[in-house]
Amino acid sequence: MSTLLDLTGLRKAYPGVIANDDVSFDIAPGEVHALLGENGAGKSTLVKMIYGLVKPDEGRMVLNGAPYAPTRPGDARALGVSMVFQHFSLFEALTVAENIALGLDEKISPSVLSPRITEVSRTYGLPLDPSRLIGDLSVGERQRVEIVRCLLQNPKLLIMDEPTSVLTPQEVEILFATLRKLSAEGVAILYISHKLEEIRALCDRATILRGGKVVATCTPRDETARSLAEMMIGTTLRSPGARDFRPGADILELRELSLSSASPFGTSLREITLALREGEVLGIAGVAGNGQEELLAALSGEARVQPEMITLDGVALGHMGPNRRRAAGLLAAPEERLGHAAAPDMSLTENTMLSARIRQKLDTSGVLKWTATRAFADAVIKAFDVRTPGNGSAAKSLSGGNLQKFVIGREVMQNPRVLVVNQPTWGVDAAAAASIREALRQLAAEGAAVIVISQDLDELMEMSDTLSILAGGRLSAPRPTGSLTIEEIGQRMGGQTAEEPAHVPA
């Protein structure tokens, strides 16, 4: 098989993080090649290097046998490399033809372009009217505009960044038919996604990235969703052991909790139903981007839902904001430490005020009690062994692990009825991670309920009594951690449930 694009030893480092390290793989003409990895695995940086948006620090690329070092996307397009971004850049007030004309490197008037647009869109089964305004088009149709814009330049390699995240199942089918046709004509496609079933249905080969490195190359059709998930996450899904767990009374109930995502690229929550009991640690597994952030927002009160969708001790509080939920005993710790769970430039004392004011009564009708706040901050620092010069240090001056201990400790020490944490040990060293897990278990042992949303399956296996899987905004019914087979977890993480096979065109 000949080679269209050959990448050798690509490396790109940003201050504090190595986005890509020694990445090598090749793409053949007509091949549909999947680039697979979790959020932050380095997929975006890699394709930006191929498309000329980012210059690699090291390594080389060869396109059609000639050295390839694009310094800007125009160079890449001139050599036949096109890209469809996840976020479109279209002017809503202009027509399809005008938008495409603006995006081409050569200057062609929209009226000349229109018949060509119609022709290309017909040939590839992407119905599109050149005279319509972008503002009137659906998200799927806007994506077609971007694809047609690429196809008009006769690409040899088409890069697609998570194209199906914004599409309906019907639109996905149309897109896949187009991609297969292109592939049959010899156009190579680099397909970025973390939807495993899609990749199994569409792609010839897959390169899997983790932590910026290539960890595996495989033929997706020969793999299972589970084995792909394992390669992405980097741990074998061990058969979980049973644990002794005697749940108490129901505390938190979710009834058909649905929430449309605030961002067009987020995942909407669909009819999540759940009952959480005293003493229970519920683990929620799933690949990032399947509704984790939305679920946390719906539980913390940052996003409001119908009152009866969330009840705590029998009180409906879906309509309440964060502070009223805190008063009722429902606390949360978001995934993003800096900027969400804590204000980077504020001191630890001020960050204590951020979420502890209500429950710790750190104010009297609005007048803040800073002495009491400092005392509570010191208590958190001491109990959770937060390494810092003192409560006056800015949150951003702490290391990730220490700040995480502070953020989790701040909630745990407020004696919540229910605590929801997202990625509690993300980027935290092993010792700190162990102490955070221990503190969460301890909280449950004292009669609270804990929801742990995590992508670390080992962590969930170790600490949760029951396990649910969040995929495509749906949550599977919780099952005792020991009772789920590896196959079930893997399949569901890939978006498939036993009752309802994922909608993927064959």
Binding site: S300, G301, E302, G321, P322, N323, R326, A332, P334, E336, G339, H340, A341, A342, A343, P344, D345, M346, E350, M353, L354, S355, R357, I358, D363, G366, V367, L368, W370, S393, A394, K396, S397
Partner: protein
């Protein structure tokens, strides 16, 4: 070669030092400007920065000019802390002056201690109501408050000209576009005989103390700072962002309106088209020079008042153009923002090629 390195924590020393550095740099920059204009730089700087302290009248004028600047800047500091950029304090100042004056004129000839508080209230409401235009456009339609509030300054200015030529014109004023002189009950009492220092100076001092309390000791001030520092964290903390945006604009509009009423009922004693003298814009410099801290703003307000008074003296003593004084004031903000880099970064020397 040198390079900039992010400090792990903002430098408190630099926070305090940069306003002083900026004033010094402005003196140097101003001196160069004056040399280019063919004036004696040492004398010019002396007239602007030093002489006002040795003249009793100039000393009292510092308070007269400083009071409105401090009042407006205190109000602006709430919005600026929260990341809400009200650039239209000048317009809110004018609307406050009109509202306060209208009340004073409506009760023309009626004596009573209640009239001035009523005028002050009207001034605050007038300024706050005018600030509601950018506030509502921002929270409803996500319109940029910088543009909206700035444009409304010119609307307010035209409105003032229209109203002193129309409804509020002095009936015995030979058709000059100005109102009657306010009667005694509608004029601010003088604190020190022989000066123009009026009770509005006390209002500015009260505003400083109340603002300090709210910023440092009250949940509203905390939420304002949190919203500016980390909007997402503010959402997590339960801050109602839209409500707070409206509140910040209401505070800044209200205090600017009060300042407008104080100018009309104080030094001017009537409503005239020349009432707005750019205090609403200069107050932006005062707010930043004072580090958005109430007591810092008090000091900064006095420094800016100094450049007004000294600048005026320099204009007639050295025939400096008025624009030179505006440039001089602008330099202050420019240098301040420049030096602010060193609050978050420090300079590190590195050998060539290493950086």
């Amino acid at each position: 070669m040198f390079r900039l390195e992010a400090r792990p924590q903002q430098s408190r020393a630099m926070m305090l030092a940069t306003p002083v550095l900026a004033v010094i740099a402005t003196m140097i920059g101003g001196a160069i400007l004056f040399v280019l204009l063919g004036k004696d730089p040492v004398e010019a700087i002396r007239i602007i920065f030093i002489d006002p302290f040795f003249d009793p009248f100039s000393r009292s004028e510092l308070l007269v000019k400083g009071a409105p600047l401090v009042l407006i800047a205190i109000g602006l500091s709430f919005g600026f802390r929260a990341g809400i950029w009200n650039i239209g304090a000048e317009g809110q100042f004018i609307m406050g002056a009109i509202a306060g004056s209208a009340v004073g004129l409506a009760f023309y000839g009626t004596a009573g201690l209640w009239l001035l508080p009523l005028m002050a209230l009207a001034g605050m409401l007038g300024g706050a109501a005018y600030a509601m235009v950018p506030a509502i456009l921002k929270v409803r339609f996500n319109a940029n408050e910088i543009l909206v509030s700035l444009m409304l300054v010119y609307v307010a200015d035209q409105f003032l000209r229209a109203i002193v030529s129309g409804p509020l014109r002095n009936p015995q004023g030979f058709n000059f576009p100005e109102s009657r002189l306010f009667h005694d009950s509608a004029v601010l009492p003088i604190l020190f005989d022989g000066t123009r220092v009026h009770v509005g100076v006390l209002a500015a001092l009260v505003a400083v103390i109340v603002a300090w309390f709210v910023m440092e000791r009250h949940v509203i001030g905390y939420n304002v700072k949190l919203l500016g520092a980390a909007p997402r964290a503010a959402g997590f903390a339960g801050v109602k962002q839209k409500r707070l945006t409206v509140l910040c604009l209401a505070i800044s509009g209200g205090l600017a309106g009060l300042a407008g009423m104080i100018e009309a009922a104080g030094p001017f004693g009537q409503l005239v088209p020349t009432l707005p003298q750019g205090y609403g814009f200069t107050a932006i410099i005062v707010a930043f020079l004072g580090r958005l801290n109430p007591f810092g703003i008090l000091l900064a307000g006095l420094v800016m008042a100094l450049t007004y008074i000294g600048g005026e003296t320099a204009q007639f003593r050295l025939q400096l153009p008025a624009a030179a004084i505006s440039t001089f004031q602008g330099m202050l903000l420019f240098f301040l923002l420049g030096f602010d880099l060193f609050v978050k970064y420090r300079v590190r020397w590195a050998r060539k090629g290493v950086a």
